[in-house]
Subunit: 194 residues, 2 copies
């Protein structure tokens, strides 16, 4: 019988199974033991510039944005994350160095967190979890490669249309000025595209 | 005793060990059995737009560029690859769909190739190989995230200086006009930065 806590976290079980193969609740519970649950309010940060980044985050509920602030104080959005997406400052997380970006909740959030140490332990100890991260990272890699192609290749209108196609659910929950920042266009340009 | 063919391919053994843990030659040979060796001359393609992309490539010797051609016929370089780097059209490879880019040898090349089927088979069957791809893709993901940040954040001079810092060896072997294309600047702008 799976505990109440684990019951709440069954989306993670499903998420891991989808990238690997089915598991019993008994197999899931020790994996879950490597994660913690945190809750953050809208506008709270989970990573701030110069922080030591100890954790990767998986969204149970809510929405976040990752961004950097340029010399003139302007915010540039690198990534959004909503339910079942992973987010952190990967450079700082994987190299255990200081953050160069901010990650902020744009809604109240419930997040699972895992430390690099626990992630590597799970990967070393369980074939399933190595397979899980190999598969997940593969598609994350793909998404980033598409983003680079899009930044190099597409004009503002094409980038906006691609965003609509790839992330229709984000359009409903993210303020337009943030979408403009993600696309690298002004709010006024975005208005003309809508 | 490792065969002559395997002897030539020991850099791959070292590459896998560095991301996982040491192995014997007897453990390496069946892994190697999932790869093929191909040789291509300068200017030959390993991927062309609209190809079915069956393979991922690992560079034993030589240098390649991945690029797309825009509506006006202009070439935009997405990635270079030299010894011990992986390259393919990852979207087409992972989704087994048609290529949207070209990958061309800019020197004579010796490459190891692996099909998606063989890569997934190795990942499923061997904990080591799942761990290997989890670790390798992690750092590939990081490199792409840095490239996006750089495209969004840095001006031409900063992008050039970052390129020099990250890839000093490429500067020696890649024509300047290709570096300009990778950085998204004109050849003339690049000359002013040198």
């Amino acid at each position: 019988m799976v505990s109440n806590q684990a019951q709440l976290l069954l989306p993670l079980k499903k998420h891991i199974e989808e990238a690997t193969f089915p598991m019993t609740n008994e197999e899931f519970e020790p994996i879950l033991g490597h994660f913690d649950v945190i809750r953050r309010k809208k506008h709270q940060f989970v990573v701030q510039e110069h922080d030591q980044v100890r954790n990767e985050f998986w969204v149970l509920k809510g929405c976040l944005k990752a961004y950097f602030v340029d010399g003139s104080g302007k915010e540039h959005i690198i990534q959004f994350a909503q339910e079942e997406w992973w987010i952190t400052d990967y450079e700082a997380f994987l190299k255990q160095s200081q953050a160069s970006i901010f990650i902020e909740c744009i809604e109240d959030c419930e997040l699972l967190t895992i430390s690099l140490e626990n992630r590597e332990k799970l990967c070393q100890e369980q074939h399933r979890m190595a397979l899980f991260w190999a598969n997940k990272t593969k598609f994350g890699f793909l998404a980033l490669q598409k983003r680079i192609l899009s930044l190099l290749k597409n004009n503002a209108k094409e980038r906006y249309e691609e965003f609509l196609r790839l992330y229709p659910s984000l359009l409903q929950r993210v303020p337009k000025k943030m979408i403009a920042s993600f696309l690298g266009v002004s709010r006024e340009t975005l208005s003309r595209l809508e």
